[in-house]
């Protein structure tokens, strides 16, 4: 939701305290924005800021790789709704942040990334640890600043925070040359922050047109995405769904917008969506797209997506409307306000609802796979149910990520933190760290793979350092499973560089970091493992060995229509 940023309180102008280096201004500016946690890693060019940290109200979380700082800040931003803050030095510190900044950009997460930089006179001279991070990140930030003098710092920070969380959120970069954070002098107070333009109320004629289309529709589908979480619009979505009972499908980022078990909710659509969801979309005569963007993973082949449907597109970002699929009615603006005001009255959809519900029942996932080995979907389903409404899953990327999306129960959008747009292996554990700082009493479970965990395994040290009660479920198929699945299905079983037969003993690795760990091989041991995970107070890792040949079903082959779904043979 877009709210005008409150003007910051005037900067302290007491002459005694106003002559000081720039770095304390950074710390003060962060405190003024209400920042509690900064995820970071020190180094040469950012040392003045680290010098100013002790004694401030900021709590710094020292990670073991800057990528983890950015990814933790991302998860913190998703859960709290406030910008997550990460901090790194110039050069390699800054480049290590980039995956995390890109992740926040792709998934519209509020973030402020702060980098040290070489002194202004050295910029552009290929100085030691000089990287033009401002230039490198231009395509993946909402905006960026270079502070050219210390007196700009308060204003830049105020604008950066307002921008990161206003409108469609995103990452904002602030590059701080070392001479600027070291400069001292009397600094002027920050001026007013340009408030982001508020949303205009929805166009009345478009609202009436949308309501008329809803009344005329016989096979409508509500297709919602990450815009619900961004706008914190789940209450409005649930209320609209209560009133209309339109069969609903979610994108990967939409999951949790409606609780998983809700009647008329058909699950996720798209490449690994449910048959019921994809079928409903294919057969629909009206799509009400809310906070979603017709992403290729959701639509499959775009020109055969919902071929008979008209489209009502509701989005907080007007530039998404008609970007990929022409909308018959465009409703840009405040998603929650639009959903609340949209009142089509009684709909004639009883037969359609019955058909969709029957499909969902007929094609429901089954958890009675044969064999004595661990069946990951069943484990995830049971774990999420037992964890209850405080459950937050953070995922890595691969088959295990899709199993989480398909089989876990989510009570709210913040219950599912996944690297959706970027699909970045390595997100899981840092995201678990960020989520636990944002919501310490949540039951945070990181579901990771044997490939993904190695991308940020050093963060086990961060869990240990802060005693974070993260529950890690490592689904070990000794494979880069998702790539193996594609090679099996689309590359004639030409398995190339996907076999991780030489993985370390992950339980031993975790113990070496000081983390409790155990290994699970048999289905019979799953109930005990879930119990142990949920009861343990500190960080814990369950190393779960699963069948390397297991695949994710259903699957829409890349470039195909959602109607061409493949199932397990």
């Amino acid at each position: 939701m877009l709210t005008a940023a409150a003007p910051p309180p005037p900067h302290d102008t007491d002459p005694k305290s106003s002559a000081r280096p720039g770095a304390p201004l950074v710390v003060e500016a962060l405190a003024r924005e209400g920042v509690d946690y900064v995820f970071g890693y020190p180094g040469g060019a950012i040392m003045p800021v680290y010098d100013a940290l002790p004694g401030s109200r900021l709590k710094h979380v020292l990670v073991r790789h800057e990528q983890a700082a950015a990814l933790a800040a991302d998860a913190y931003g998703r859960v709290s709704g406030e910008p997550g803050v990460c901090l790194a030095t110039s050069g390699p510190g800054a480049t290590n942040l980039i995956t995390g900044i890109a992740n926040a950009f792709m998934d519209s997460v509020p973030m402020v990334a702060i980098t040290g930089q070489v002194g202004t006179s050295l910029m552009g001279t290929d100085a030691f640890q000089e990287i033009d991070v401002f230039g490198v990140t231009l395509p993946i930030v909402k905006h960026s600043f270079i502070a050219r003098s210390a007196d700009e710092i308060p204003q830049i920070f105020a604008e950066a925070f307002a921008l990161a969380k206003g409108g469609r959120p995103g990452p904002v970069l602030i590059d701080l040359p070392k001479d600027v954070t070291q400069a001292s002098g009397p600094f002027p107070p920050s001026g007013p922050v340009p408030a982001p333009a508020g949303y205009a109320p929805p166009d009345a004629a478009s609202m009436r047109a949308a309501e008329a289309m809803l009344r005329a529709a016989r096979r409508p589908v509500l297709y919602f995405g990450g815009g619900i979480a961004i706008a914190r619009a789940e209450a409005a979505l649930r209320d609209f769904h209560d009133r209309t009972r339109i069969p609903a499908v979610a994108t990967l980022k939409g999951l949790g917008g409606l609780p998983t078990e809700r009647e008329d909710f058909l699950g996720m659509l798209g490449m690994h969506g449910t048959r019921a969801a994809n079928t409903a979309v294919m057969e629909s005569d009206l799509l009400i797209c809310v906070g979603a963007r017709f992403d290729d993973r959701a639509t499959g082949k775009l020109d055969t997506f919902a071929p008979g449907a008209q489209v009502i597109h509701i989005d907080g970002d007007a530039s998404e409307i008609s970007k990929l699929r022409r909308a018959n009615v465009a409703l840009p603006g405040d998603i929650a306000a639009i959903l609340t005001a949209l009142d089509p009255g009684r709909l004639d959809i009883a037969a359609w609802r019955a058909r969709c519900t029957q499909n969902a029942a007929d094609w429901a996932f089954r958890y009675d796979a044969p064999g004595a080995g661990v069946y990951a979907p069943a484990l995830l389903n049971e774990l999420s149910r037992q964890a209850g409404d405080r459950f937050i899953a953070t995922c890595d990327v691969g088959q295990h990520q899709m199993w989480v999306a398909q089989h876990c129960r989510f009570s709210r959008p913040q219950a599912h933190l996944t690297s959706a747009g970027l699909g970045a292996m390595g997100y899981g554990i840092p995201a678990g760290i960020g989520a636990l700082f944002a919501e310490p009493d949540a039951t945070v479970v990181t579901v990771t793979g044997d490939g993904s965990i190695m991308m940020n395994i050093q963060e086990l040290a961060t869990l240990r350092r802060y005693g974070l009660p993260l529950k890690i479920v490592l689904l070990d198929n000794a494979q880069l499973g998702m790539v193996r699945q594609w090679q099996e299905l689309f590359y004639e079983q030409n398995f190339s560089e996907v076999d991780l037969y030489d993985n370390p003993d992950f339980a031993e690795v975790a113990r070496a970091f000081g983390i409790e760990a155990f290994t699970v091989d048999r289905r019979d041991d799953v109930p005990g493992a879930i119990d142990r995970l949920l009861k343990t107070r500190g960080p814990i890792l369950a190393h779960v060995r699963i069948d390397p040949a297991e695949n994710v079903w259903p699957l829409v082959p890349p470039g195909k229509s959602n109607s061409d779904m493949m199932e397990a043979s």
Binding site: F134, L138, K142, F145, L163, R168, S319
Partner: protein, 87 residues
């Protein structure tokens, strides 16, 4: 088919790079451009003649994407036909 986009913007650090970069990244070729002298504090105007790289690119979309950038004050695009007639 070339289309002309006029972008009024506040010329902060990196603004020109940001604008041209967005247009290119979003699937357009920049065929010509004009940027009269900018003055600190005053709004500047960048005029771009652009052509889509493929049929899927709509100038309305890239204009909407430009319009939401922080430095951008206003975006206007000339109808392609008007531009062809003029050239």
């Amino acid at each position: 088919m070339t289309c002309r986009i006029d972008i009024d913007f506040r010329p902060g650090e990196g603004a020109v790079l940001r604008l041209i970069g967005l247009v290119e990244r979003r699937g357009f070729v920049v065929r010509a451009m004009n940027l009269p002298e900018t003055r600190a504090g005053a709004s500047a105007r960048l005029t771009l003649d652009v052509a889509p790289r493929d049929a899927g690119r709509r100038v309305e979309t890239v204009c909407a994407q430009l319009a939401k950038m922080y430095e951008v004050v206003a975006v206007n695009s000339a109808q392609p036909r008007a531009l062809e007639a003029a050239s």
